[in-house]
């Protein structure tokens, strides 16, 4: 079991090495490329397809790099 654990840790099905920040950065790049190519803003799904990633991963990555809880007002007084 120990060996299997190690094997699995080293062979993760999704790219652990690709950090969220990396994914978010690439997603924004791809958005700009697709916008240029099609003359309109692409959908999130089109961006995810281009990146070969599940849609939710792109959503998560883009959310992780910003962070404001509420963009316009503090939640704590």
């Amino acid at each position: 079991i120990g060996e299997i654990r190690r094997y699995l840790r080293d062979n993760t099905p999704i790219r652990v090495s690709r950090s969220l920040r990396d994914v978010a950065y690439k997603a924004l790049q791809v958005r700009d490329q697709l916008t240029h190519r099609h003359g309109r803003e692409p959908t999130l799904e089109e961006i995810a397809r281009e990146l070969g990633l599940p849609r939710e991963e792109v959503v998560h990555a883009l959310d992780a790099i910003q962070d404001p809880v509420s963009l316009f007002e503090p939640i704590y007084q």
Binding site: R40, E41, L44, V59, H60, D63, F72, E73, I75
Partner: protein, 149 residues
């Protein structure tokens, strides 16, 4: 399984009333909304609207005290709806509460409902003092135009 595509899709998320959970609600709804052909800007708009509604439940509904916020979302392949419900103190005058720059808290900007209205196609508010508040937000992906035309 032939007609499963026609079934409505939904999720229900229950969270304790805590500021740090606003982000959890926002991401969950955005991940779900991505099942419709929204652009990144539209998803950002949805996230802002959801954040404002959940923040209101935490801050006004429960006044930073204990409580549960229930977020429901659904779509039929064409239109997204999101419902944010609390069973907190409720709103006495809904029309007044929805006015831009109106707030019962002098330290707040009173722009939460204004942002929801600006970023979503439709905003419905159901509320009664003592019984809680339910905000319903609706949005469709904008038709995709060619810039060349």
């Amino acid at each position: 399984m032939g007609d499963r595509a026609a079934e409505p899709r939904w999720l229900e998320l229950r969270l304790p009333s805590r500021p740090e959970n606003v982000g959890v609600a926002r991401v969950a709804v955005a991940a779900f909304a991505a099942q419709l052909p929204f652009t990144l800007s539209e998803l950002e708009e949805i996230k802002v609207a959801v954040s404002e509604a959940v923040t209101n439940a935490v801050v006004h509904g429960y006044g930073h005290g204990r409580g549960v916020v229930t977020i429901r979302a659904g779509h039929d392949g064409r239109r997204l709806w999101v419902e944010v419900a609390d069973s907190g103190r409720g709103i006495a005058d809904i029309e007044q509460a929805r006015q831009p720059a109106f707030s019962t808290d002098p330290e707040r900007m009173g722009m939460g409902f204004a942002f929801m209205e600006a970023f979503m196609d439709q905003v419905d508010v159901e509320s009664a003092p003592g019984a809680g508040t339910t905000v319903r937000l609706y949005k469709r992906p904008r038709p995709k135009e060619q810039a060349s035309s």
